[in-house]
Symmetry: C2
Subunit: 216 residues, 2 copies
């Protein structure tokens, strides 16, 4: 399936959806190149005609892989899961797979889109309280679900896509000053996961495009 | 895998995410019961303590199936796909699967959440133009993608999850007065799909909770 060309990740250090893909690539041990798409400089490089050709939604991440251009982080991660060896990102048990996907979708459809850059830009002055509201609301739902599904990680004792979505969303929550101490399961999972190499090397604080002032 | 108990879909006739699940159940030929959750009456039945227990996000749909309570339409549909016989909702070809998931996620993460009831309620008076803006923006991205991937249906010549997401989103687009004629591929796919039995029987105009004035 794999071609000899390295995948290229078009992403941005602080984009939580780019981080999701970086974690998946790291967990699978896939070597890749990064093409940095600065979402804020000069109105954003994602709105250029050149970038719109590879991602008409004008978002990051986009992954070019196996002569294909794929957008949407969960679609990308599931393609990697289905075509590459390495640790499973979805558990073999079908009920657990469903729980993993449910948690991913709560984050990817129910929380993250509402605090995405192009959305909060449209909100204007109240953007921080808007983002805070929807992350807080989402975490209030996620906490009791994770309390039921979690073992050492979000679903049982193996790392999955649910963990890949959780950690970047906690990072965003902290940016928007949501108090994570309200959510003991989320807090515990995040702390555990941040110690894992794949989550560390993919962290926004140490990417090629991380500004010096934000480096770890 | 299946138990003898019929699945129960907690949904609302006009919810596009409930409609997605109804289409999937119909395509697979799965018999189910409906529990109607009126999203608007008395401030919405989704916010009751009773419903929050099965869906902490206070959203529809939720499916109780195989002694499990699942939320998030795409997680539900993929569980059905992985556990039930019948026509594939994801193509066997791995690149096409990725395209299907990309299209699903553009709709499920990039468009639908921004025009969801609990979001536009927070927008207030400008909610219609807000919803119009994000659906228009999303369809401008989706049209060139579908132009490349579509055959008779959204990806090639077999019905998939991409079609399941597309038709309810077009229904929402029409509600918010987005002119579908701007998007010839989307328009053509929608017209083709609406002729298929599974899309007809699951349509918001003919559900048990459809108000008389909105019945087809």
């Amino acid at each position: 399936m794999a071609t000899s060309t390295k995948p290229v990740l078009h992403g941005y250090f602080r984009s939580s959806c780019s981080w999701r893909v970086r974690i998946a690539l790291a967990l699978k041990g896939i070597d890749y190149d990064q093409n940095n798409v600065n979402l804020v400089k000069d109105g954003g490089q994602q709105v250029t005609d050149q970038y719109k050709k590879i991602n008409p939604m004008q978002q990051v991440p986009t992954l070019t892989i196996d002569d294909m251009t794929l957008s949407q982080s969960l679609a990308i991660i599931q393609y990697i899961e289905e075509t590459r060896p390495g640790p499973h990102l979805l558990p073999p048990d079908l009920k657990k797979r469903a729980q993993v996907r449910m948690i991913c979708d709560i984050i990817a459809s129910g929380i993250q889109p509402l605090q995405n850059l192009y959305v909060i830009k449209k909100i204007g002055a109240e953007k921080d309280s808007w983002a805070h509201h929807f992350i807080q609301r989402g975490f209030e739902a996620l906490e009791p679900i994770l309390k039921q599904t979690a073992g050492m990680y979000s679903v049982g004792d193996e790392i999955s896509m649910a963990d890949i979505c959780l950690v970047p969303q906690v990072y965003n929550a902290e940016r928007f000053k949501v108090d994570i101490c309200q959510f003991p399961t989320i807090k515990r999972l995040n702390q555990t996961l941040l110690k894992i190499e794949a989550f560390k090397v993919s962290h926004p604080s140490c990417q090629p495009d991380t500004p010096a002032a934000m480096q770890a």
